[in-house]
Amino acid sequence: MTRAYDEERLGELLRLLRPAPVGWVQAAQELPAARRSMDEIVARAEADLAFREALIADLEIALEQAGYEPDRRLLDELRKRLA
């Protein structure tokens, strides 16, 4: 099917796809690194009982002390994986 486009219609369609918020895009682009951090944390928690207990006692503080930036998504995912 071939559609005819006039300039007004093209303008309308271009307006529909506005940039997503920069922070959202950046977080999605950083997913591979975030997944690696998560895998590291889980592996360490499996190997180090004291670290695991610290995570369970206060996830956010334990992560901060271990040098990770505990954003909401990381915390949610870790809670699921450590449960």
Partner: protein, 186 residues
């Protein structure tokens, strides 16, 4: 002359599977506007829900890329995933099942238009960089002639004519394709 061809969707998916971080960033970039628009314009989710769906879409794409049977089909896969997650979100806020949620005719129309808009953006991506830039700034970022002129260092009196010329190129590109619904580069 248009831009040198960017990676096709299938090539991009293949590179993501190989662990290329630049390819992943490009994949997010390529689909981010569409996913965002489906959430906020198609399903009218609030910011917080839209952000959750947005991140979940890309998380699932990243973690399930190996399950995609046809690499060239990443776009319909992402579209379907986004719609399903939006419906799940709407359902979780009511007592309905996702399958019970009915979109209004206006929402259905908006979703169709977003697909058409994506075709237009794909066509835009093969135009020369200055055309991509000026059309995106004017239409998608709402920048004024004055801002565009200042930021691109162009005489302000030429902005309107440049926009008109780029729109004609965009139209020619679209009309040179077999049709918007078949317009991806795969």
């Amino acid at each position: 002359m248009g831009q040198p061809p960017a990676l096709t969707d299938a090539e991009l998916v293949q590179r993501c599977r190989e662990g290329d971080p630049d390819a992943w960033a490009e994949l997010v970039n390529r689909f981010s506007r569409y996913v965002y628009a489906v959430c906020v314009k198609g399903f009218r989710l609030g910011d917080e829900d839209a952000e959750d769906v947005f991140q979940e879409v890309f998380t699932r794409v990243y973690t399930r890329l190996d399950t995609l049977r046809d690499d060239a089909a990443v776009r319909p896969w992402i579209a379907q995933l986004t719609r399903r997650l939006c419906l799940d979100t709407l359902a979780s806020g009511s007592r309905e099942q996702p399958s019970d949620i009915e979109l209004t005719p206006e929402q259905e129309r908006t979703l169709e238009e977003l697909d058409e808009a994506f075709d237009v953006r794909e066509a835009l991506a093969v135009l020369p960089e200055p055309c991509q830039e000026i059309l995106d700034r004017f239409f998608a970022r709402d920048q004024s002639y004055r801002t565009i002129s200042a930021e691109l260092d162009l005489p302000s009196g030429t902005i309107a004519s440049r926009i008109a010329r780029c729109l004609r190129k965009l139209r020619d590109e679209l009309e040179g394709r077999s049709g918007p619904s078949e317009g991806s580069r795969e």
